[in-house]
Structures are given as C-alpha cells and as structure tokens.
C-alpha cells in the first residue's frame, strides 16, 4: 500500500460511521419524535425516546473518537466527559426537585 493509499484508508477509518453516529442518532431522534407525536404519544415520552437516541449516537461517536487518542489524553477526555455528565445530572436533579417540591405552584407567586 502506498503512502497516499494508507492516508486515505486512515481517513476512511477515522471518518467511519461511528464518527457520524451522533448525526445518525440525531436524525433518528427527530424522526422518532415526529412519528410518536403524530400517533398521539405524550410529549414527554417522545422527548425521552428522542433523547435516548441522541445520547446513544453521541456515546458511539465519543467512543470512536477516544479510541484514537493516546492513553493520557484519553483519560483526560473521559474525566472531562464524566464531569460534564455529573453537572448535567445535577441540573436535572435540581430541576426535578423544584418541580416536585413546588408542583403546579412554581409560577404562582405574589408580585
């Protein structure tokens, strides 16, 4: 294999379907959400299903990207992703707790 062919093969590997999984997942999410809403499913059910597809696509892409990094950089990236996920979880936890504690009164406050 020539140098040029090797670079093309490497590009093909780097830009494989796993690297585009986030795009595939997002497109599938949009399609699934539209289909579920069209058949009368509840909004939150459609949103959860769509979110799962986006997250799955993102996870596959991230995994493909991490596999090409050297060990030290990979560890740093994984830590950053973990911190991001923890912060996102905190946002969800506090949002859910606010809704649970205040319920329908969340918008009902004296001006």
């Amino acid at each position: 294999m020539t140098g040029g062919q090797s670079i093309i093969a490497e590009d093909a590997r780097v830009n494989g379907w796993q690297d585009r999984a986030w795009l595939i997942g997002s497109a599938a999410a949009a399609a699934v959400m539209a289909a579920l809403l069209a058949v009368g499913a509840r909004f939150w059910v459609a949103a959860v299903m769509a979110s799962l597809l986006v997250v799955a696509g993102g996870a596959v892409s991230t995994r493909a990207g991490l596999a090409r990094l050297d060990e030290a950089t990979r560890r740093r990236h994984v830590r950053s992703i973990a911190i991001g996920l923890i912060l996102a979880s905190m946002v969800i936890i506090f949002y859910a707790a606010t809704i649970v504690r205040l319920g329908g009164n969340v918008m009902n406050r004296p001006m």
């Binding site: 990979r74 560890r75 740093r76 830590r79 973990a82 859910a96 707790a97 649970v100």
Partner: protein, 314 residues
C-alpha cells in the same frame, strides 16, 4: 520540559510525581469505596422505607444519592489520610493512592467537594435535619475515627463504628425531619454489630495491622481478649436486634429472622472463642466475618420487605 519517569506500579509519571494524564474515572470511583457505599445505601434505604410518613419518590432517590455520595466522600477522605497505612497492607496496597493512580491532593479535593455537595444537596432538597446528620456522619468518620481514634486506641472501631451506623438514621430523618426511638434502634443495631464484625476481620489480618502500627484489639490485647470481646458484643447485639419487634418497627417475619440468625451469629461467635489453634481460629473468624455481613443485610432486608408487603396489601 517536564521530566518523566515510571512509578513502581509501571505508570508514566510526570515531574510532579503524578500519573501522566491523571487518573481514570474508575480510580475516582474506587476512592469512594463502592462496596461500603452499597451497604450504606441499603441501610439508608431501609431507614427511608420503614420511617413513618411519606417522601416523594424523586426526593427519596435524591436523598439516597446524596447519602451514597456522602459515604463515598468519607471513603475518599479516609483513603487520603490513610494512604501511608494502605501502602503497607496487603488488602489495601492496590488502592488508587498507594498504587500511584491518584495523588493525595486530588483525593482530598475530590472528597471535600463531594462532602460539601452531598450535605448541601440533602439539606436544600430534602431537609436540614437529614443534611446535618449526614454532615455529622462524614465528620465523625473522618475527624473522630480516621484522624483521631484509628491510630491511637484499640477501641477505634467501637466508637468509630457510630459513623457506619448513622445512614439509616439519616434516611429516617429524610422522611420525618426528626430522630426517634426506632431510628436510634436501627443505629444501635449497626453500632453493636460493628465490633464483632471488624474484630473477626482483624483476627485473621492481625499481622497486617501490626506491621502498620494500627492498634486493633488483636494487636494490642491479643487474640484471647479479642475472642472474649467478640462474644460479649455478640451477646449484646443479638437481643438488641430483636427489640424492633417490641416497638412495632419489625413484624413476625423480622422477629423470626432476628432470633434464628441471631442464634447462628452467637454460635459462630462462641466458635471463634473456642478455636485456639491458628488455622481453625482464622477459619472461625472468617466464618463469623462473612456471616456478620449476611446477618446485617438480612435483618434490614426483612424490615424492608415487611414494609413493602404492607404497602402492597393496603
């Protein structure tokens, strides 16, 4: 340019002595002592379920998460303080700090952030009595047990055991916003269970503790005194574990379980007292240690199951 080298464990180290690229997420998870955390979560869950009153499921999950993270924070801070001991004990030499995968500074910051975060989360979202109890639990484990008692007295795990006994009380307080006799009973069961559990472990890990200078009872007072103390504490624990039946916290199933398993616990403790030959003694201690875990788990599982069945029937 940074100097690089290799650690004893074979990791690339940078000029600061830290592992190049830092620790894995799994190393941070290991700092939280996940096995200890699982027992804490289980006993706290029991406290939440058996407490009178109700707590919204979302808040209950958040309370459990906060208690789990608080327990993990205690584990990380314990590993930070005890890294020197851990490096010289067979059982703990592979932990993230002695193995060179996490620096002590990283473990300290990690533990502090989780401690403050878990207490504030529990206090703000659930209630401040539970938050304060969690703060006391973490402080007791780190300041009283780890920093003060562990290296000074053979009574370390008797008093320090209180830290491990708090979780069901925290769970109870998450629901009721208070502390009551029943929650104190749950506390006392774990408190009394801790000495025979840990002394059984210390009996067959005696050399490890002696090497690092931790004054566990078998190291300081000898195996015979440890056997005697195990029997005494077991004799206190077994009837105490039956008392939730008297207060109405436990039902018939709990009563039967606590009596039957209590009798086995007592028999194993007496067996530890009787076996003096090294191999048989170690085997008896291991049996008691393993059974003690199943014993505590079963007591709390039955309490939990009784309440779930009651909910299902009403």
């Amino acid at each position: 340019m940074a100097q690089t080298g290799m650690s004893a464990a074979g990791f690339d180290l940078d000029s600061t002595g830290a592992r190049a690229g830092g620790a894995d997420v799994a190393d941070y998870f290991a700092l939280m002592k996940p096995r200890v955390m699982s027992l804490v979560v289980f006993t706290a869950l029991t406290g939440i379920v058996v407490a009178p009153g109700t707590l919204h499921p979302v808040l209950a999950i958040i309370a459990l998460l906060a208690i789990a993270v608080g327990a993990g924070a205690s584990g990380a801070l314990n590993m930070w303080w005890d890294a020197d001991i851990d490096a010289n004990m067979e059982r703990t030499a592979g932990r993230p700090i002695p193995a060179g995968r996490v620096t002590p500074g990283e473990a300290l910051v990690f533990g502090m952030v989780l401690s403050v975060g878990s207490v504030l989360t529990l206090g703000v979202i659930v209630n401040w009595v539970a938050g304060a109890l969690l703060a006391v639990t973490i402080a007791f484990y780190i300041l009283v047990y780890t920093m003060w008692l562990k290296r000074r007295t053979p009574q370390n795990i008797v008093i320090g055991g209180a830290a491990g006994a708090f979780p069901p009380m925290v769970g109870w307080a998450a629901v009721t916003g208070s502390v009551s006799l029943d929650s104190v009973l749950l506390f006392l069961i774990i408190f009394m269970w801790t000495p025979p559990h840990f002394w059984a472990l210390a009996m067959y890990r005696c050399k490890d503790y002696a090497r690092v200078g931790v004054p566990m009872l078998p190291v300081v007072a000898g195996l015979d005194e440890t056997r005697r103390q195990i029997v005494i504490y077991s004799a206190l624990l077994v009837p105490l574990a039956v008392t939730p039946v008297l207060t109405g916290l436990g039902g018939i199933a709990y009563g039967v379980t606590s009596v039957v398993l209590g009798a086995i616990f007592m028999a194993l403790a007496v067996n530890v007292w009787r076996q003096r030959e090294t191999v048989a003694s170690d085997r008896a201690a291991k049996k008691l240690f393993l059974f003690s875990i199943a014993y505590l788990f079963a007591l709390f599982a039955v309490l939990l199951a009784e309440r779930v069945v009651l909910w299902a029937l009403t």
